[in-house]
C-alpha cells in the first residue's frame, strides 16, 4: 500500500497550486459577481495542458491519468469552484471520444479539445429526464437518403453548452426501444437547427455557464455517431462514473479552500483577548472539518486510482462523490459560521464557497441517486 504522490504528481500539484493562486484566485470573486464564463482562464488552462490531462499525447493530450486530473481540479477548486467545474466537465467530452470514438473521430476532435483551446460539453439531461434518464425524449433519426442524423428535442442544465465547440448529445436513434435506443451523437457549435436557449441563473458556480440546447431538425453526418447505435446509455453511464470522481475532486478542493481560509482566520481573529483558534469550541469545529476533508480526499483518490488501473470503480466513485459533496457543504457551512458576520459578507470568499459547494450534491447525479447506485452495489 502506498499513499504517496509520484514526483510528477508533486510537481503537477505545485504548478497547479501556483497557477490557481496567480491566475485564478485574483478574478474568482469577479467571475462570481458578474457571472461570466472565464474564457481567458480556460485558454490559459489549455496552454499549460490542463485540458489535455488524461488523453494520450498521440491525440494532442498531455498524458497523465485520472489521479493527475483530480490533483489539478482540486487545486483550482480551492480558489474558484466554477473554473474547476469548467475544467472537470470539459474533460468528460474527451474521455467519451477517446473511449468510444473511432480512430478518425479521435484524430479529428481530440487535439481540438485537449490542446486546441476548444471547449467540449456533455448533454444528457432533459427537462423531464434528470435522475430518470430513461424519460429522455430527444431523438436523432437517421435519414437514409442523405446519410444524416436529424436531431429534435431539448436538453437542459448543460454545463458549458452555450460555449462549447463540440458537444456529445445523447438522443434516441430508435425511440421504440427506450434506453436501448439511445445513442451518442457529436454535434458542433453552429450546426443549422442547433440553437442555445435559456442561460440559467444559478445559486453558485456562476462562471460555469449552464445552458438549454434546442435541436430543431438539426442535421449532422452519420459519421458523428460515437460508438454504436443503441449503446448511448452505456456510454453516458460510463462517462458519469468518471465525472463523479471529477465532482468529488471539485468538492474536495472547495472544502480544502474553505478550511485554509478558516485556519488563517482563527489565527488572526481576536475575541475575548485571544485568537479564536485558542477557543476549544472552534478547535473542535476545525478538527471535524479537517478529519472529514481528509476522508473525502482519500476516498476520491482511491476511486481515481481504481479508474486509472482499469478496475471496477462505479461504487467507489459514487461513494467518493456522495461523501466529498456532503463534506463540502459541511465544511463550508462551518467555515462561514466561524467567520461570523464577515463570512456572510461578499468581501470574504466564504459565502461564495458555501453557495458553490451545494451544486456538488446535485450535479452528475444527486446524493440520492448515488445512494441508489451504492446500495445496488452493496446489497446486490
Amino acid at each position: 500500500m502506498d499513499f504517496k504522490f509520484t514526483d510528477a504528481q508533486i510537481m503537477l500539484q505545485k504548478v497547479a497550486k501556483e497557477f490557481a493562486e496567480t491566475e485564478i484566485a485574483p478574478i474568482a470573486a469577479e467571475v462570481d459577481k458578474l457571472g461570466y464564463f472565464p474564457k481567458e482562464s480556460f485558454e490559459k488552462m489549455a496552454k499549460i495542458g490542463f485540458t489535455g490531462i488524461g488523453t494520450p499525447v498521440e491525440f494532442g493530450g498531455s498524458g497523465g491519468n485520472d489521479i493527475d486530473k483530480a490533483i489539478v481540479v482540486t487545486e483550482i477548486a480551492k480558489k474558484c469552484a466554477a473554473t474547476a467545474a469548467i475544467l472537470s466537465i470539459h474533460t468528460i467530452f474527451a474521455a467519451v471520444v477517446e473511449k468510444f470514438g473511432n480512430e478518425e473521430q479521435k484524430q479529428k476532435y481530440l487535439p481540438k479539445v485537449t490542446s486546441g483551446g476548444c471547449l467540449g460539453a456533455f448533454a444528457l439531461t432533459e427537462p423531464n429526464a434528470g435522475s430518470d434518464a430513461a424519460s429522455a425524449k430527444t431523438t436523432a433519426i437517421l435519414d437514409e437518403d442523405s446519410g444524416e442524423y436529424v436531431l429534435n428535442g431539448t436538453k437542459c442544465f448543460i454545463s458549458g453548452g452555450g460555449q462549447a465547440q463540440y458537444l456529445a448529445i445523447f438522443a434516441l436513434t430508435d425511440p421504440s426501444k427506450g434506453l436501448k435506443g439511445m445513442s451518442c451523437i457529436l454535434v458542433e457549435k453552429g450546426t443549422p437547427g442547433f440553437s442555445i436557449g435559456k442561460i440559467e441563473e444559478k445559486m453558485g458556480i456562476h462562471g460555469s455557464e449552464t445552458a438549454e440546447l434546442i435541436f430543431d431538425n438539426c442535421r449532422v453526418p452519420k459519421e458523428n455517431l460515437i460508438g454504436v447505435e443503441g449503446k448511448g446509455f452505456k456510454i453516458a453511464m460510463s462517462a458519469l462514473d468518471g465525472a463523479r470522481v471529477g465532482v468529488a475532486a471539485q468538492a474536495l478542493g472547495i472544502a480544502e479552500g474553505a478550511l485554509e481560509e478558516t485556519i488563517k482566520y482563527v489565527h488572526e481573529r481576536v475575541q475575548f483577548g485571544k485568537p479564536i483558534g485558542q477557543l476549544q469550541g472552534i478547535q473542535w469545529y476545525i478538527a471535524d472539518m479537517a478529519t472529514k476533508t481528509e476522508c473525502a480526499k482519500w476516498m476520491m483518490y482511491r476511486a481515481a486510482y481504481l479508474k486509472k488501473e482499469g478496475l471496477p470503480y462505479t461504487k467507489e466513485a459514487a461513494m467518493a462523490k456522495l461523501n466529498a459533496s456532503e463534506n463540502a457543504r459541511f465544511v463550508t457551512n462551518l467555515a462561514l459560521q466561524i467567520h461570523g458576520g464577515y463570512g456572510y459578507m461578499k468581501d470574504y470568499p466564504l459565502e461564495r464557497m458555501y453557495r458553490d459547494a451545494k451544486i456538488t450534491e446535485i450535479y452528475e447525479g444527486t446524493s440520492e441517486i448515488h445512494k441508489v447506485v451504492i446500495s445496488r452495489a452493496v446489497i446486490g
Binding site: 514526483d7 503537477l12 497557477f19 495542458g49 490542463f50
Partner: protein, 263 residues
Amino acid sequence: MNIIVCVKQVPNTNEVRINQETGTLIRDGVPSIINPDDRNALEEALALKDEHGGKVSVISMGPPQAKEALKEALAMGADEAVLVTDRAFGGSDTWATATILAAAVEKVGGYDLVFCGRQAIDGDTAQVGPEMAEFLDLPQVTYCKEIKVDGEKIIVNRFTETGDYILEVKPPVVFTAIKELNKPRYPSARGIFEVYDGPDQIKVYTLEDLDVDVTQIGLKGSPTNVYKSFVPVRSKNSEIIEGFNNKEKAATLVDKLCDLKLI
C-alpha cells in the same frame, strides 16, 4: 538559433528565516526554486526558440539536488539540461563559478546566445553573468528588458537606473535578464509527465569533463572569502524635538548637533 541558459537553484527566500545567533540562513524545510531572474532568462530563450526555432540547453552548477531545477526547466520546454557538479567546485565564489560555467558553456558549444539571470536572490552579486562573458571573450548586454531579433542583428533594451539603452548586437553574445523582460511560462502538464515520469535526461559534467584551470576554482581558487555574514541590527533611537514653532525647534536641533560635535 541555439541558446544556452545558465540557471541557479536557490532557496525560496520568501520562506527563509535567519538564525540570529549565527547569522546564517535556516535552510531546513525551505523549498528550492529556480532563481527568479534565471526563470526570465529561460523564458526569453524558450520564446526565441518558439519564434525562430533552434535548441535551448540549460546548465546549472550546484550539488546533485540542483537536478530538480533542471527538471523544471525541461518541463518548461528546454531541450537538454546539464548539471555541472563536482566536489572540487564547492565553495566557489563568482570568479570560480564563472570560470567553471564558461568551460561548461564551451563544452556544450554550438551556441548563438547565452542567457543568465541578472543576479541570484541568495547572493545578489550580479557578477557571474558578466564574468562568464569575459571568460568566454563574448560581448555582453546586462539588465535586458526587451530583446528583439532583427535579421542578423538583435536589438536589446538595457534597463538601468539612469535610463534605457537601446543596443544593437550580433551573436554570439551573453545577455543577463531582469524580471521586466517577460512573464515566465508554467511547466506544462505534458512536460511534467515526460520529465518526471520518464527516463532521466540530465547530462552530468564533472571536473574531468571540463577544460578548467584547477587553481581557479573551488574554495582555494576563489579570490573572495566570506569573513563574516550577519544581519545588521536596526536600532530606532529617534527623538522628536518639541518646540513652540519651527524656529524654536530648529534652534534646539542646532544646539543638540553642536553638543554631539556633529556641526
